[in-house]
Protein backbone atom coordinates (compact mmCIF):
# COMPACT_ATOMS: atom_id res chain seq x y z
CA UNK A 1 0.00 0.00 0.00
CA UNK A 2 2.70 2.40 1.05
CA UNK A 3 4.59 1.32 -2.01
CA UNK A 4 2.34 3.58 -4.06
CA UNK A 5 4.29 6.53 -2.67
CA UNK A 6 7.51 5.28 -4.14
CA UNK A 7 8.34 6.59 -7.54
CA UNK A 8 10.91 4.78 -9.66
CA UNK A 9 11.19 6.51 -13.01
CA UNK A 10 13.64 5.87 -15.81
CA UNK A 11 15.06 9.12 -17.17
CA UNK A 12 17.38 8.50 -20.16
CA UNK A 13 20.00 6.14 -18.77
CA UNK A 14 19.31 6.78 -15.08
CA UNK A 15 16.66 5.53 -12.62
CA UNK A 16 15.13 8.35 -10.58
CA UNK A 17 13.94 7.05 -7.21
CA UNK A 18 12.03 9.41 -4.92
CA UNK A 19 11.62 8.36 -1.27
CA UNK A 20 8.45 9.54 0.56
CA UNK A 21 8.85 11.95 3.52
CA UNK A 22 8.36 9.51 6.38
CA UNK A 23 8.95 5.97 5.09
CA UNK A 24 8.19 3.00 7.33
CA UNK A 25 10.12 -0.29 7.22
CA UNK A 26 7.67 -1.88 4.76
CA UNK A 27 7.96 1.01 2.34
CA UNK A 28 11.74 0.83 2.51
CA UNK A 29 11.73 -2.90 1.77
CA UNK A 30 9.29 -2.38 -1.09
CA UNK A 31 11.54 0.37 -2.41
CA UNK A 32 14.52 -1.98 -2.54
CA UNK A 33 12.50 -4.59 -4.39
CA UNK A 34 11.16 -2.09 -6.93
CA UNK A 35 14.62 -0.65 -7.54
CA UNK A 36 16.15 -4.05 -8.20
CA UNK A 37 13.24 -5.00 -10.46
CA UNK A 38 13.68 -1.81 -12.47
CA UNK A 39 17.45 -2.45 -12.69
CA UNK A 40 16.68 -5.78 -14.31
CA UNK A 41 14.02 -4.30 -16.58
CA UNK A 42 15.92 -1.31 -17.98
CA UNK A 43 19.39 -0.81 -19.32
CA UNK A 44 20.64 1.99 -17.04
CA UNK A 45 23.98 3.20 -15.72
CA UNK A 46 22.69 3.58 -12.20
CA UNK A 47 20.19 5.29 -9.96
CA UNK A 48 19.65 8.50 -8.06
CA UNK A 49 18.01 8.11 -4.65
CA UNK A 50 16.32 11.40 -3.86
CA UNK A 51 15.84 11.69 -0.08
CA UNK A 52 15.33 15.47 0.02
CA UNK A 53 11.89 15.12 1.62
CA UNK A 54 12.97 12.60 4.24
CA UNK A 55 12.93 14.05 7.74
CA UNK A 56 14.11 11.08 9.78
CA UNK A 57 16.72 8.49 9.04
CA UNK A 58 16.60 5.35 11.17
CA UNK A 59 19.09 2.49 11.29
CA UNK A 60 16.90 0.21 9.17
CA UNK A 61 16.68 2.79 6.42
CA UNK A 62 20.44 3.42 6.56
CA UNK A 63 21.21 -0.32 6.40
CA UNK A 64 18.78 -0.89 3.52
CA UNK A 65 20.36 1.94 1.55
CA UNK A 66 23.84 0.48 2.10
CA UNK A 67 22.59 -2.97 1.02
CA UNK A 68 20.79 -1.58 -2.01
CA UNK A 69 23.94 0.25 -3.10
CA UNK A 70 25.84 -3.07 -2.96
CA UNK A 71 23.08 -4.97 -4.77
CA UNK A 72 22.82 -2.36 -7.51
CA UNK A 73 26.62 -2.44 -7.84
CA UNK A 74 26.43 -6.23 -8.33
CA UNK A 75 23.96 -5.63 -11.13
CA UNK A 76 26.39 -3.18 -12.69
CA UNK A 77 24.89 0.11 -11.58
CA UNK A 78 26.06 3.07 -9.53
CA UNK A 79 23.94 4.67 -6.78
CA UNK A 80 24.03 8.30 -5.70
CA UNK A 81 22.08 9.42 -2.63
CA UNK A 82 20.94 13.00 -3.17
CA UNK A 83 19.63 15.89 -1.15
CA UNK A 84 19.94 14.80 2.45
CA UNK A 85 18.76 17.57 4.77
CA UNK A 86 21.28 19.08 7.22
CA UNK A 87 19.13 18.15 10.25
CA UNK A 88 18.96 14.54 9.05
CA UNK A 89 22.73 14.48 8.50
CA UNK A 90 23.39 15.81 12.01
CA UNK A 91 21.07 13.32 13.66
CA UNK A 92 22.53 10.46 11.62
CA UNK A 93 26.06 11.47 12.65
CA UNK A 94 25.06 11.70 16.30
CA UNK A 95 23.63 8.18 16.17
CA UNK A 96 26.65 6.93 14.27
CA UNK A 97 24.65 6.03 11.15
CA UNK A 98 26.56 6.00 7.86
CA UNK A 99 25.69 5.19 4.30
CA UNK A 100 28.79 3.07 3.84
CA UNK A 101 30.26 3.43 0.36
CA UNK A 102 27.22 5.14 -1.10
CA UNK A 103 27.98 8.20 -3.19
CA UNK A 104 26.28 11.37 -2.06
CA UNK A 105 25.31 14.57 -3.84
CA UNK A 106 23.91 17.90 -2.78
CA UNK A 107 21.01 17.69 -5.19
CA UNK A 108 19.51 15.56 -7.98
CA UNK A 109 21.17 17.68 -10.67
CA UNK A 110 24.67 16.91 -9.42
CA UNK A 111 23.68 13.31 -8.75
CA UNK A 112 22.63 12.83 -12.36
CA UNK A 113 26.06 14.04 -13.50
CA UNK A 114 27.74 11.65 -11.13
CA UNK A 115 25.78 8.62 -12.35
CA UNK A 116 26.45 9.27 -16.04
CA UNK A 117 30.00 10.66 -15.74
CA UNK A 118 32.60 7.93 -15.54
CA UNK A 119 35.12 10.32 -14.07
CA UNK A 120 32.79 11.68 -11.44
CA UNK A 121 35.27 11.21 -8.63
CA UNK A 122 37.31 13.99 -10.07
CA UNK A 123 34.34 16.32 -10.34
CA UNK A 124 31.44 17.26 -8.11
CA UNK A 125 30.73 14.18 -6.09
CA UNK A 126 32.38 12.65 -3.07
CA UNK A 127 32.98 9.09 -2.14
CA UNK A 128 33.03 8.64 1.62
CA UNK A 129 35.63 6.19 2.76
CA UNK A 130 35.12 6.40 6.50
Amino acid sequence: MEAENISVVKVRDVLMVTVPPDPDDETISALQAQVLQAMEQYQVKGLVLDISTVETLDSFFARTVVETVQMVALMGGRTVVAGMRPSVAITATQFGLTLGNALTALDVDRALYMVSDRHQEKSHGTKPRA
Partner: protein, 410 residues
Protein backbone atom coordinates in the same frame (compact mmCIF):
# COMPACT_ATOMS: atom_id res chain seq x y z
CA UNK B 1 -41.10 79.90 114.40
CA UNK B 2 -38.32 81.57 112.54
CA UNK B 3 -36.15 81.14 115.52
CA UNK B 4 -37.07 77.47 115.80
CA UNK B 5 -36.19 76.95 112.22
CA UNK B 6 -32.84 78.65 112.63
CA UNK B 7 -32.19 76.68 115.72
CA UNK B 8 -32.89 73.36 114.06
CA UNK B 9 -30.61 74.33 111.17
CA UNK B 10 -27.88 75.09 113.61
CA UNK B 11 -28.47 71.78 115.28
CA UNK B 12 -28.07 70.00 111.99
CA UNK B 13 -24.87 71.87 111.18
CA UNK B 14 -23.42 71.08 114.57
CA UNK B 15 -24.48 67.50 114.15
CA UNK B 16 -26.77 67.52 117.15
CA UNK B 17 -29.82 65.33 116.99
CA UNK B 18 -29.08 64.13 113.45
CA UNK B 19 -29.83 60.55 112.58
CA UNK B 20 -26.45 59.59 111.22
CA UNK B 21 -27.65 56.06 110.75
CA UNK B 22 -30.26 57.23 108.22
CA UNK B 23 -27.65 59.21 106.30
CA UNK B 24 -25.38 56.22 106.45
CA UNK B 25 -28.05 54.04 104.92
CA UNK B 26 -28.74 56.57 102.17
CA UNK B 27 -25.17 57.03 100.95
CA UNK B 28 -24.69 55.48 97.50
CA UNK B 29 -21.09 54.46 98.21
CA UNK B 30 -20.28 51.31 100.12
CA UNK B 31 -19.43 52.37 103.66
CA UNK B 32 -18.60 50.46 106.83
CA UNK B 33 -17.36 51.27 110.28
CA UNK B 34 -14.87 49.07 112.13
CA UNK B 35 -13.60 49.25 115.66
CA UNK B 36 -9.94 49.32 116.62
CA UNK B 37 -9.92 45.53 116.60
CA UNK B 38 -11.08 45.51 112.98
CA UNK B 39 -14.53 44.18 113.81
CA UNK B 40 -17.23 45.48 111.48
CA UNK B 41 -19.63 47.55 113.60
CA UNK B 42 -21.96 48.64 110.86
CA UNK B 43 -22.15 48.55 107.06
CA UNK B 44 -24.64 49.99 104.54
CA UNK B 45 -26.54 48.11 101.78
CA UNK B 46 -24.20 49.24 98.96
CA UNK B 47 -21.45 47.56 100.98
CA UNK B 48 -23.36 44.27 100.89
CA UNK B 49 -23.97 44.69 97.17
CA UNK B 50 -20.29 45.36 96.54
CA UNK B 51 -18.92 42.56 98.68
CA UNK B 52 -21.59 40.02 97.86
CA UNK B 53 -21.95 39.28 101.59
CA UNK B 54 -25.14 40.13 103.45
CA UNK B 55 -25.01 42.79 106.14
CA UNK B 56 -26.06 40.27 108.75
CA UNK B 57 -23.16 38.03 107.80
CA UNK B 58 -20.56 40.77 107.79
CA UNK B 59 -21.48 42.86 110.83
CA UNK B 60 -19.72 41.64 113.95
CA UNK B 61 -17.03 39.81 112.04
CA UNK B 62 -13.55 40.94 111.11
CA UNK B 63 -13.21 43.41 108.30
CA UNK B 64 -11.06 41.01 106.27
CA UNK B 65 -13.84 38.41 106.33
CA UNK B 66 -16.06 40.63 104.22
CA UNK B 67 -13.49 41.05 101.47
CA UNK B 68 -10.23 39.45 100.90
CA UNK B 69 -7.59 41.79 99.58
CA UNK B 70 -3.98 41.79 98.62
CA UNK B 71 -3.17 44.38 101.31
CA UNK B 72 -5.09 42.73 104.21
CA UNK B 73 -2.84 41.80 107.13
CA UNK B 74 -0.04 43.99 105.83
CA UNK B 75 1.18 47.36 107.00
CA UNK B 76 -0.18 48.75 103.77
CA UNK B 77 -3.77 48.02 104.81
CA UNK B 78 -5.52 51.42 104.79
CA UNK B 79 -7.21 50.72 108.14
CA UNK B 80 -3.97 49.73 109.78
CA UNK B 81 -2.38 52.90 108.53
CA UNK B 82 -5.30 55.07 109.65
CA UNK B 83 -5.09 53.44 113.09
CA UNK B 84 -1.39 54.22 113.25
CA UNK B 85 -1.38 57.72 111.79
CA UNK B 86 -4.86 58.79 112.96
CA UNK B 87 -5.35 60.66 109.73
CA UNK B 88 -7.59 60.21 106.71
CA UNK B 89 -6.12 58.34 103.81
CA UNK B 90 -7.04 57.29 100.28
CA UNK B 91 -5.75 54.28 98.42
CA UNK B 92 -6.48 52.15 95.41
CA UNK B 93 -6.94 48.56 96.47
CA UNK B 94 -7.75 45.27 94.85
CA UNK B 95 -10.44 43.39 96.72
CA UNK B 96 -11.90 39.97 96.18
CA UNK B 97 -15.64 39.53 96.29
CA UNK B 98 -17.27 36.54 97.96
CA UNK B 99 -17.83 34.97 94.51
CA UNK B 100 -14.14 35.32 93.74
CA UNK B 101 -14.25 38.19 91.24
CA UNK B 102 -11.60 40.86 91.60
CA UNK B 103 -12.62 44.43 92.24
CA UNK B 104 -10.51 47.50 91.90
CA UNK B 105 -11.71 50.05 94.41
CA UNK B 106 -10.77 53.47 95.63
CA UNK B 107 -10.78 53.12 99.38
CA UNK B 108 -11.24 56.21 101.57
CA UNK B 109 -10.59 55.58 105.28
CA UNK B 110 -10.91 58.03 108.19
CA UNK B 111 -10.39 57.69 111.96
CA UNK B 112 -13.30 58.05 114.39
CA UNK B 113 -12.70 59.66 117.78
CA UNK B 114 -14.87 59.84 120.92
CA UNK B 115 -15.46 63.04 122.84
CA UNK B 116 -12.26 62.49 124.74
CA UNK B 117 -10.31 62.34 121.49
CA UNK B 118 -9.62 58.66 121.80
CA UNK B 119 -9.56 56.58 118.60
CA UNK B 120 -12.61 54.36 118.73
CA UNK B 121 -12.71 53.06 115.19
CA UNK B 122 -12.40 53.82 111.56
CA UNK B 123 -14.86 54.51 108.77
CA UNK B 124 -14.08 53.09 105.36
CA UNK B 125 -15.79 53.72 102.05
CA UNK B 126 -15.29 51.96 98.73
CA UNK B 127 -15.89 53.04 95.23
CA UNK B 128 -15.81 50.34 92.56
CA UNK B 129 -13.64 51.57 89.71
CA UNK B 130 -13.14 48.17 88.04
CA UNK B 131 -15.11 49.14 84.95
CA UNK B 132 -13.27 52.44 84.55
CA UNK B 133 -9.98 50.60 84.93
CA UNK B 134 -10.97 48.07 82.30
CA UNK B 135 -12.08 50.83 79.95
CA UNK B 136 -8.77 52.58 80.55
CA UNK B 137 -6.83 49.41 79.82
CA UNK B 138 -8.88 48.88 76.69
CA UNK B 139 -8.18 52.42 75.57
CA UNK B 140 -4.50 51.88 76.19
CA UNK B 141 -4.53 48.61 74.21
CA UNK B 142 -6.52 50.05 71.34
CA UNK B 143 -4.32 53.11 71.11
CA UNK B 144 -1.34 50.76 71.08
CA UNK B 145 -2.77 48.63 68.28
CA UNK B 146 -3.89 51.75 66.47
CA UNK B 147 -0.38 53.13 66.49
CA UNK B 148 0.88 49.79 65.20
CA UNK B 149 -1.62 49.95 62.35
CA UNK B 150 -0.76 53.56 61.59
CA UNK B 151 2.96 52.86 61.69
CA UNK B 152 2.66 50.14 59.06
CA UNK B 153 4.15 51.08 55.70
CA UNK B 154 1.72 48.73 54.02
CA UNK B 155 -1.67 50.18 53.18
CA UNK B 156 -4.18 48.52 55.51
CA UNK B 157 -7.92 48.71 55.10
CA UNK B 158 -11.04 47.13 56.58
CA UNK B 159 -14.01 46.60 54.32
CA UNK B 160 -17.59 45.89 55.32
CA UNK B 161 -19.76 43.21 53.82
CA UNK B 162 -21.18 45.82 51.45
CA UNK B 163 -17.72 46.54 50.02
CA UNK B 164 -17.49 49.95 51.68
CA UNK B 165 -14.31 51.01 53.41
CA UNK B 166 -14.69 51.03 57.18
CA UNK B 167 -11.23 52.00 58.31
CA UNK B 168 -7.85 52.84 56.77
CA UNK B 169 -4.36 53.69 57.95
CA UNK B 170 -2.03 56.47 56.96
CA UNK B 171 -0.28 54.39 54.28
CA UNK B 172 -3.63 53.94 52.52
CA UNK B 173 -4.16 57.71 52.51
CA UNK B 174 -0.74 58.18 50.98
CA UNK B 175 -1.06 55.53 48.31
CA UNK B 176 -4.51 56.70 47.18
CA UNK B 177 -3.99 60.40 47.75
CA UNK B 178 -7.41 60.54 49.41
CA UNK B 179 -7.97 61.62 53.01
CA UNK B 180 -9.23 59.24 55.64
CA UNK B 181 -12.55 61.03 56.03
CA UNK B 182 -13.24 60.76 52.32
CA UNK B 183 -12.07 57.15 52.05
CA UNK B 184 -14.27 55.79 54.79
CA UNK B 185 -17.71 54.87 53.58
CA UNK B 186 -16.75 54.75 49.90
CA UNK B 187 -16.47 51.71 47.66
CA UNK B 188 -13.18 49.85 48.14
CA UNK B 189 -12.97 48.91 44.46
CA UNK B 190 -13.00 52.60 43.37
CA UNK B 191 -9.33 52.98 44.15
CA UNK B 192 -7.98 50.43 41.70
CA UNK B 193 -7.23 50.44 38.00
CA UNK B 194 -9.35 47.31 37.70
CA UNK B 195 -12.40 47.82 39.98
CA UNK B 196 -13.98 44.57 38.79
CA UNK B 197 -10.95 42.57 39.80
CA UNK B 198 -10.82 44.32 43.19
CA UNK B 199 -14.48 43.52 43.77
CA UNK B 200 -13.89 39.89 42.83
CA UNK B 201 -10.98 39.87 45.26
CA UNK B 202 -12.92 40.85 48.34
CA UNK B 203 -15.82 38.65 47.36
CA UNK B 204 -13.35 35.80 47.25
CA UNK B 205 -12.26 36.68 50.79
CA UNK B 206 -15.87 36.45 51.97
CA UNK B 207 -16.42 33.12 50.26
CA UNK B 208 -13.07 31.51 51.08
CA UNK B 209 -12.14 33.23 54.31
CA UNK B 210 -8.88 34.67 53.01
CA UNK B 211 -6.78 35.43 49.94
CA UNK B 212 -3.01 35.67 49.62
CA UNK B 213 -0.89 37.58 47.12
CA UNK B 214 -3.82 38.87 45.11
CA UNK B 215 -2.32 41.26 42.54
CA UNK B 216 -3.99 44.65 42.11
CA UNK B 217 -2.95 48.12 41.06
CA UNK B 218 -3.86 51.06 43.28
CA UNK B 219 -4.62 54.32 41.54
CA UNK B 220 -3.48 57.56 43.13
CA UNK B 221 -5.54 60.71 42.54
CA UNK B 222 -2.60 61.96 40.46
CA UNK B 223 -3.07 58.92 38.17
CA UNK B 224 0.17 57.46 39.48
CA UNK B 225 -0.28 53.72 40.02
CA UNK B 226 1.18 51.31 42.55
CA UNK B 227 1.37 47.58 41.96
CA UNK B 228 0.49 45.68 45.10
CA UNK B 229 -0.16 42.19 46.33
CA UNK B 230 -3.14 41.93 48.66
CA UNK B 231 -3.36 39.60 51.61
CA UNK B 232 -6.77 39.66 53.18
CA UNK B 233 -8.86 37.74 55.67
CA UNK B 234 -12.31 38.07 57.18
CA UNK B 235 -12.63 39.24 60.77
CA UNK B 236 -15.34 38.14 63.12
CA UNK B 237 -16.99 39.48 66.25
CA UNK B 238 -17.11 37.57 69.53
CA UNK B 239 -20.09 35.59 68.31
CA UNK B 240 -18.01 34.37 65.33
CA UNK B 241 -20.12 36.43 62.97
CA UNK B 242 -18.20 37.80 59.97
CA UNK B 243 -17.91 41.56 60.30
CA UNK B 244 -15.86 42.42 57.27
CA UNK B 245 -12.53 42.01 55.55
CA UNK B 246 -9.17 43.09 56.79
CA UNK B 247 -6.85 43.67 53.83
CA UNK B 248 -3.14 44.47 53.79
CA UNK B 249 -1.41 45.52 50.59
CA UNK B 250 2.25 45.06 49.86
CA UNK B 251 3.86 47.52 47.48
CA UNK B 252 5.73 45.51 44.87
CA UNK B 253 6.73 48.33 42.54
CA UNK B 254 10.39 47.98 43.50
CA UNK B 255 10.27 44.24 43.28
CA UNK B 256 8.68 44.40 39.84
CA UNK B 257 11.31 46.86 38.68
CA UNK B 258 14.08 44.59 39.90
CA UNK B 259 12.48 41.59 38.25
CA UNK B 260 12.11 43.44 34.98
CA UNK B 261 15.70 44.65 35.08
CA UNK B 262 16.87 41.14 35.81
CA UNK B 263 14.84 39.67 32.95
CA UNK B 264 16.28 42.31 30.61
CA UNK B 265 19.82 41.55 31.68
CA UNK B 266 19.31 37.82 31.32
CA UNK B 267 17.99 38.39 27.82
CA UNK B 268 21.03 40.52 26.91
CA UNK B 269 23.39 37.89 28.28
CA UNK B 270 21.64 35.13 26.34
CA UNK B 271 21.64 37.16 23.14
CA UNK B 272 25.31 37.98 23.53
CA UNK B 273 26.16 34.36 24.21
CA UNK B 274 24.30 33.42 21.06
CA UNK B 275 26.04 36.12 19.07
CA UNK B 276 29.46 35.11 20.36
CA UNK B 277 28.76 31.55 19.25
CA UNK B 278 27.69 32.73 15.82
CA UNK B 279 30.58 35.14 15.42
CA UNK B 280 33.07 32.50 16.48
CA UNK B 281 31.97 30.14 13.73
CA UNK B 282 31.71 32.12 10.50
CA UNK B 283 31.13 30.30 7.23
CA UNK B 284 32.09 32.26 4.10
CA UNK B 285 31.84 31.56 0.41
CA UNK B 286 35.17 32.25 -1.33
CA UNK B 287 34.25 30.89 -4.77
CA UNK B 288 31.19 29.49 -6.38
CA UNK B 289 30.89 26.07 -4.83
CA UNK B 290 33.62 26.63 -2.24
CA UNK B 291 33.02 27.58 1.40
CA UNK B 292 35.63 28.48 4.01
CA UNK B 293 34.95 27.96 7.71
CA UNK B 294 37.79 29.12 9.95
CA UNK B 295 37.62 27.64 13.43
CA UNK B 296 38.93 29.82 16.25
CA UNK B 297 39.30 28.65 19.83
CA UNK B 298 38.63 25.31 21.40
CA UNK B 299 35.93 23.05 20.04
CA UNK B 300 33.61 21.72 22.70
CA UNK B 301 30.55 19.63 21.93
CA UNK B 302 28.18 22.60 22.11
CA UNK B 303 30.25 24.59 19.65
CA UNK B 304 30.68 21.59 17.40
CA UNK B 305 26.93 21.22 17.26
CA UNK B 306 26.53 24.92 16.42
CA UNK B 307 29.35 24.79 13.87
CA UNK B 308 28.02 21.64 12.25
CA UNK B 309 24.53 23.13 11.91
CA UNK B 310 25.81 26.34 10.36
CA UNK B 311 28.21 24.63 8.00
CA UNK B 312 25.57 22.16 6.77
CA UNK B 313 22.94 24.90 6.39
CA UNK B 314 25.33 27.05 4.40
CA UNK B 315 26.43 24.13 2.19
CA UNK B 316 22.82 23.41 1.23
CA UNK B 317 21.92 27.10 0.97
CA UNK B 318 24.83 28.00 -1.33
CA UNK B 319 24.82 24.59 -3.04
CA UNK B 320 28.55 24.23 -2.43
CA UNK B 321 30.11 20.79 -2.79
CA UNK B 322 33.43 21.89 -1.26
CA UNK B 323 34.00 23.16 2.27
CA UNK B 324 37.37 24.18 3.66
CA UNK B 325 37.52 23.86 7.44
CA UNK B 326 40.53 25.79 8.69
CA UNK B 327 41.94 24.90 12.10
CA UNK B 328 44.78 27.47 12.19
CA UNK B 329 42.98 29.23 15.05
CA UNK B 330 42.48 26.09 17.11
CA UNK B 331 45.15 26.02 19.87
CA UNK B 332 45.34 22.25 20.30
CA UNK B 333 43.50 19.25 19.00
CA UNK B 334 42.85 16.40 21.42
CA UNK B 335 41.04 13.15 20.68
CA UNK B 336 37.71 14.68 21.57
CA UNK B 337 38.18 17.69 19.30
CA UNK B 338 39.33 15.38 16.53
CA UNK B 339 36.22 13.25 16.99
CA UNK B 340 34.07 16.37 16.77
CA UNK B 341 35.80 17.26 13.49
CA UNK B 342 35.36 13.76 12.11
CA UNK B 343 31.65 13.86 13.02
CA UNK B 344 31.24 17.17 11.23
CA UNK B 345 33.01 15.86 8.15
CA UNK B 346 30.85 12.69 8.11
CA UNK B 347 27.70 14.78 8.29
CA UNK B 348 28.91 16.97 5.42
CA UNK B 349 29.57 13.86 3.34
CA UNK B 350 26.07 12.57 3.95
CA UNK B 351 24.83 15.76 2.35
CA UNK B 352 26.94 15.10 -0.73
CA UNK B 353 29.70 17.63 -0.12
CA UNK B 354 33.37 17.27 0.76
CA UNK B 355 35.43 18.77 3.54
CA UNK B 356 39.09 19.68 3.22
CA UNK B 357 40.75 20.19 6.58
CA UNK B 358 43.32 22.98 6.32
CA UNK B 359 45.71 24.77 8.67
CA UNK B 360 47.31 21.64 10.10
CA UNK B 361 50.39 23.13 11.77
CA UNK B 362 53.43 20.92 12.54
CA UNK B 363 52.50 20.85 16.25
CA UNK B 364 49.00 19.72 15.44
CA UNK B 365 50.23 17.11 12.97
CA UNK B 366 52.50 15.75 15.70
CA UNK B 367 49.75 15.69 18.27
CA UNK B 368 47.32 13.94 15.94
CA UNK B 369 49.81 11.22 15.12
CA UNK B 370 50.82 10.75 18.76
CA UNK B 371 47.20 10.50 19.81
CA UNK B 372 46.63 7.95 17.06
CA UNK B 373 43.78 9.91 15.47
CA UNK B 374 43.10 8.51 12.03
CA UNK B 375 42.30 11.25 9.53
CA UNK B 376 43.38 9.21 6.53
CA UNK B 377 39.91 9.32 4.97
CA UNK B 378 39.96 13.09 5.03
CA UNK B 379 41.79 15.40 2.68
CA UNK B 380 44.06 17.59 4.80
CA UNK B 381 46.42 20.41 3.93
CA UNK B 382 48.81 22.55 5.96
CA UNK B 383 47.53 25.85 4.61
CA UNK B 384 44.27 27.34 3.49
CA UNK B 385 45.70 28.15 0.06
CA UNK B 386 46.73 24.53 -0.37
CA UNK B 387 43.19 23.47 0.48
CA UNK B 388 41.75 26.00 -1.93
CA UNK B 389 43.85 24.51 -4.76
CA UNK B 390 42.51 21.04 -3.96
CA UNK B 391 38.94 22.38 -4.01
CA UNK B 392 39.48 24.21 -7.32
CA UNK B 393 41.01 21.14 -8.86
CA UNK B 394 38.16 18.98 -7.64
CA UNK B 395 35.66 21.38 -9.23
CA UNK B 396 37.63 21.31 -12.48
CA UNK B 397 38.78 24.91 -12.06
CA UNK B 398 42.27 26.21 -12.78
CA UNK B 399 44.00 29.39 -11.78
CA UNK B 400 45.97 30.80 -14.72
CA UNK B 401 48.48 33.61 -14.49
CA UNK B 402 47.45 36.43 -16.77
CA UNK B 403 50.02 37.30 -19.41
CA UNK B 404 49.52 41.03 -18.84
CA UNK B 405 50.49 40.96 -15.14
CA UNK B 406 53.05 38.21 -15.61
CA UNK B 407 56.04 40.46 -16.20
CA UNK B 408 55.23 42.79 -13.31
CA UNK B 409 54.75 40.18 -10.68
CA UNK B 410 57.30 37.58 -11.62
Amino acid sequence: MMKDNVKSKGQILSGEGVDYKAIFQAVPSAVRVVDTDFNVIIANPPMAALSGQSLEASVGRKCFDTFKGERCHTKDCPLTRVQKTKTTMKAEVVKERQDGTKLICVCLAAPLFNREGMLTGMVESFEDITKQKQAEALRATSSYTRSLIEASLDPLVTIGADGKIMDVNKATEQVTGVSRQRLIGTDFSNYFTEPEKAREGYKKVFSEGSVTDYPLTIRHTSERTTDVLYNAAVYKDEAEKVQGVFAAARDITERKKTEEALAKQTEIIQRQAREILEISTPVMQVWEGVLVAPLIGTLDSQRTQQFMERLLERIVESNSPMALVDVTGVPTIDTQTAQHLIDTISAVRLLGAQVILTGIRPAIAQTLVHLGVDLSGITTRSSLSGGLLVAMDSLGLQVATSKRTNGKEA
